[in-house]
Symmetry: C2
Subunit: 202 residues, 2 copies
């Protein structure tokens, strides 16, 4: 593959997961986006917002004028009452999020977009949405406090990381595990194969 491949994401977890594909890529800083402003122009289902945001991030990456293929993604954690649980601002919010998740199922939705900007060709964006259902075990107040004390909740959508110390409280998942970590590897791989062979006439 002669084209440059870029991951436009600040998430260390996405970088680690993408490395599992053995594709050669470089990290670039994602452009600043105002997610709330973007979502005000989006009238779709809450699940679709993740794919919409991934595509918007792709569009912004293309505007930087660099030649290549850009990978962008957005992960949303959605409680079963439809509330989107972002990154908790403080201990109190982390506690409220975990209290809501404990004992219940919730949904993790990740949108992944591939955006291409090659000289002489029309820029294009293709994307995929992957959803996974996650079931937390009931947690005691002591377990919630102990988990918050690890510091893990703060930089993570929904206030937990399945790959970290929250793992002992996750009863089961239904769907792609890596999607819950933040990057749905198989869905990406399928999209990648389709995207990079799109020019082969069939």
């Amino acid at each position: 593959m002669a084209k440059n491949l870029y991951l436009a994401s600040a998430s260390p977890r996405r970088k680690e997961l993408l490395e599992l594909t053995d594709l050669e890529f470089q990290l670039i800083q994602p452009g600043d986006i105002d997610e709330e402003a973007i979502l005000r122009n989006h009238s779709g289902d809450v699940l679709d917002q993740a794919e919409f945001l991934a595509r918007e991030k792709g569009r912004i990456a293309l505007e930087q004028g660099v030649s290549g293929i850009f990978i962008t993604a957005d992960t949303l954690v959605i409680a079963d009452d439809g509330t989107v649980l972002g990154k908790p601002a403080d201990e109190l919010e982390a506690g409220m999020f975990l209290d809501r998740l404990a004992g219940n199922w919730h949904t993790v939705a990740t949108g992944v977009a591939l955006s291409e900007n090659i000289e002489g060709a029309t820029p294009r964006i293709e994307s995929v949405l992957e959803t996974t259902r996650v079931k937390f075990a009931p947690m005691t107040d002591e377990e919630i406090s102990a988990y918050i004390a690890t510091g893990e909740p703060y930089d993570k959508a929904g206030g937990y990381g399945i790959q970290g110390r929250a793992s002992i409280h996750i009863e089961r998942i239904d769907g792609c595990y890596f999607n819950v970590v933040g990057f749905p590897l198989h869905a990406f791989w399928k999209l990648w194969k389709k995207f990079t062979s799109a020019k082969i006439p069939c």
Copy 2:
């Protein structure tokens, strides 16, 4: 917890996963066991063999005469025709395993046992069996060859590691992810809480 806790397993993945619990433990070499001989004396369902083997490993750990609690585990990968897929001996067997898994669901079963040997008390063993369904995507011959070339299949039951380069080929799972890696963290955590509070009169 004043009692010594030991993980009797040679699996680096089980050690890493157990560290996520924040429990203090030491590694000990598991005793040599002849799994085939043990299973000849076991008349149960193939799924139950994982729990049976974990308990047998626990029994053998207790015989070493060290005081403490021992964690033992056994993971089996079972194709949907009932065949147990062990660690592939060579490239040819790895290819056959992956060809059988690709495009299909299969089951991963892990038994975990806690065995206690404390002076003045009757030794006891408690255990749990966790099963997870795993769906591989269809794989091309090139994808199977490329995966075998990573060297990952050889030390892993079923010939793949979900946490490694096989991740891009796993469409979805239904159940505990960590069980597929080799140690079902939530099931262990539940067993652990029950086991260590068993002496509190209710």
